[in-house]
């Protein structure tokens, strides 16, 4: 029976070129993770539902892919629940496992489960796919990779410093020069909220402030008023609207605004420490920028907040982000474990490298030489030569059938194979190989050693 095959929306097939390009990015990230002393772990694709549910808010719960129990799964649904025909009641009875939604919660679960085998501080990296039942959009998928590095078990700010270095190292190695690493601190935002008397409106005012670049000062103030932030509070924010300049001068302004807030002052100290260290160490190609409006992950970040923007002129959202969370593992019963981590956005980095032509050509090269098949005897001799070439690291193939010459040459052309070797009766007797360079048409007749030398 013929079916027209498709794949589920929001998922992707990757061909050889795409796999090679993705793997170039992933291997670069991995190499730097390792250089910085991070150790790899892997967790199962699905977790018990109660490990994941309730950890990402209601919206998150909705977007988690649930796996149907096996066998006579409806037996676990009692009659009353069944008659209700309510997904809320029935889902937990017929589904006990779910696909991982991110790498952070499985990591927290891992740390708690294996706490006796782990040396703290624990620096781990994890590069695996995650799944979300999100509405698919351009650049948003239902299956995508996350590339995370985290340290848990220490509150040292040296880790924030190292994560900035890590971003710099990865993007420099990818030749993606001039990324901006934006940094903020949750404590700064809490301090501002305190100063303007809006501790309970942290989210409201940060959401409004975040729009400053887009809608301008007047409209931001309007939005704040609409959220019942007082005129007095808004006027105290005035220096924030005028906040400009380098890290140092922004810090100066913040100090004047936050002088009365203990938590605000703590946030400033942390930012100053990080900035001083980075200034001393220097960055290779990235810029560190203080961004007081940066407010991602306010539900869990308690200290530093990071976000990385592509170089100027590339229209792309953030290509990385992260921050410090003071109680990652508390949800699983292990308290007082502070952590800090960052993530690389593989799909967006891919798009940026593609747009800027930064993928090295060599990564998509595959087969270097195709041996044309003139029949069993000739092909058999070719396979001997191919075997030896492979032992020297040359990617070589035999066209499997003695098809028409034209068909075999077309195959080599379409696959972008740069060389073909022809071994006909004449070459066979003389133990020679005719090497043809596809781009120029040039042909040379060589013995095996010369062939190897030409291809290696």
């Amino acid at each position: 029976m013929a079916q027209k095959p498709t794949i589920p929306k929001g998922t992707r097939d990757f061909n050889a070129e795409e796999v090679a390009k993705r793997s170039y990015i992933v291997e670069t990230i991995k190499r730097q993770f390792k250089l910085f002393g991070f150790q790899p772990i892997e967790t199962p694709s699905f977790e018990n539902s109660d490990t994941l549910m309730g950890k990402y808010g209601d919206e998150g719960d909705r977007l988690i892919f649930k796996i149907l129990n096996s066998g006579a799964y409806l037996n676990k649904v009692d009659d009353a629940d069944y008659q209700s025909k309510s997904e809320t009641l029935i889902t937990p009875k017929i589904s006990e496992k779910a696909l991982r939604y991110d790498l952070t919660v499985p990591f927290a679960r891992y740390v708690v489960q294996h706490q006796n085998d782990i040396e703290f501080p624990f620096k781990r990296y994890q590069i695996q796919p995650v799944w979300r039942a999100d509405r698919p959009q351009k650049g948003r998928f239902r299956e995508f990779y996350q590339c995370d590095a985290d340290v848990v078990g220490s509150t040292s700010l040296f880790q924030e410093v190292e994560f900035i270095q890590l971003y710099d190292a990865v993007f420099t190695e990818l030749q993606l020069k001039g990324v901006t690493i934006k940094i903020n601190n949750r404590k700064i935002l809490s301090g501002i909220a305190e100063v303007i008397g809006a501790q309970d409106k942290l989210i409201d005012f940060t959401v409004a402030l975040d729009k400053l670049d887009k809608i301008g000062e007047a409209k931001v103030k309007e939005e704040m008023r609409s959220k019942a932030i007082s005129e007095e509070g808004i006027s105290k924010l005035q220096p924030l609207f005028d906040l400009k300049g380098d890290f140092g001068s922004q810090i100066k302004t913040l100090k004047s605004i936050l002088s009365s807030s203990a938590i605000g002052i703590k946030g400033i100290e942390e930012l100053e420490f990080i900035n001083e260290m980075i200034s001393n160490l220097g960055l290779k190609t990235a810029h560190l920028e203080l961004s007081v409006t940066l407010a991602r992950g306010l539900n869990y970040y308690t200290g530093a907040i990071f976000e990385v923007a592509a170089p100027d002129g590339v229209d792309m959202g953030s290509i990385g982000g992260g921050g410090r969370y003071d109680d990652l593992t508390g949800i699983f019963g292990l308290t007082n474990v502070s952590g800090v981590g960052i993530s690389f956005g593989l799909d967006r980095i891919y798009l940026v490298l593609e747009a800027l032509g930064l993928f090295p050509e060599a990564i998509t090269e595959s087969t270097k030489v195709l041996f044309i098949n003139f029949g069993e005897t000739e092909a058999s001799a070719c396979l001997s030569a191919i075997t030896k070439l492979r032992q020297h690291g040359v990617v070589a193939e035999l066209y499997p059938d003695s098809a028409k010459m034209k068909k075999q040459m077309t195959y080599a052309n379409r696959r972008n194979i740069p060389y073909v070797v022809l071994v006909g009766e004449k070459e066979l007797q003389a133990k020679q190989f005719t090497l043809k360079t596809m781009s120029t048409g040039e042909q040379l007749t060589l013995n095996f050693d010369a062939l190897l030398a030409a291809l290696i």
Copy 2:
């Protein structure tokens, strides 16, 4: 709320050492796949249910993990079906996606879907996890990796020859010497069935024959009789019971048994061709063995059948297998595409390498040097040195907190970090580094260049 975290049965967490060892195997396989001209593809973790269902038999359908639809999924179940409370009726309504069960069906779907972008013969490899709701057992998991290489679009037997070389190359590179590559041919089995007049009992007699080593000739014959295979047929099998010796002499016996069967003779010719080629080319460390009782995958294999056994003395099932199938893509409407492929059993290869102590020590080395933290000023200087070491490829870490010396040394010990560097006030002033070798306790005070030279 504290929860005791666990993972679903049949799944696994992998720690750094396990990830490194698995990745050593996978990277070795990948390198050889590439050398042989195979190109990587990746497919989504879940497929539309109708892509997978019905492709693996009833048992397979049962073992496929189904994903619950999102949102108000019960709306799609009409009242009659709902009142039946029958999983058979309800499952297809509430689940439209399923986790991939193997890599072969998704590959077939990929080939058909992308047939216009593919050059045939198409040599692809794919290394991704698959999921089966099997009862977990020792060495059998619900999530595990498959490592497959296949060629589709050619019937050339040179491909069978190359797959044997590929097995040999991979296991040789893994230092797993002396594996046995067993080969059989479905056509031989069909020929035998024809000769003994039991064409319709192919499975019955191969299942019985397969037990020869375990239960002996008399009991095998008994089982055949119980399956209504005639005395005359069984007597024709007599030479098979006595089948011994090398490839050549087994072929001779088969020729006498199968002289009246066209398909049997075809199978013999194929085996002879492959054996001749391999004899000419030579194998590095593996042995090729004709095994007439080998009968895996009879539902789909139409030509060669492969299975790889670990070296003598290692009690492990097959560590690889494969074969030729004449109509892989027919299920998706693209007919006449012959394919042949092999698979490597990652988990079992891991167990074999572990049992034989064949993992190179270097693969599990991680951090080479830990810088002890004596406080902010010293640590800051250390971080400069660490940054430079990393730029030279040395995996270096700073202990993030200025904890007690003993705690930091214990950390280095437990993590098996071979060197620590101490930079106290004295070293700081002299711009020097005290390098301690953990195994010997030896200490040297060095400038940076000498430190780098010692660690690189």
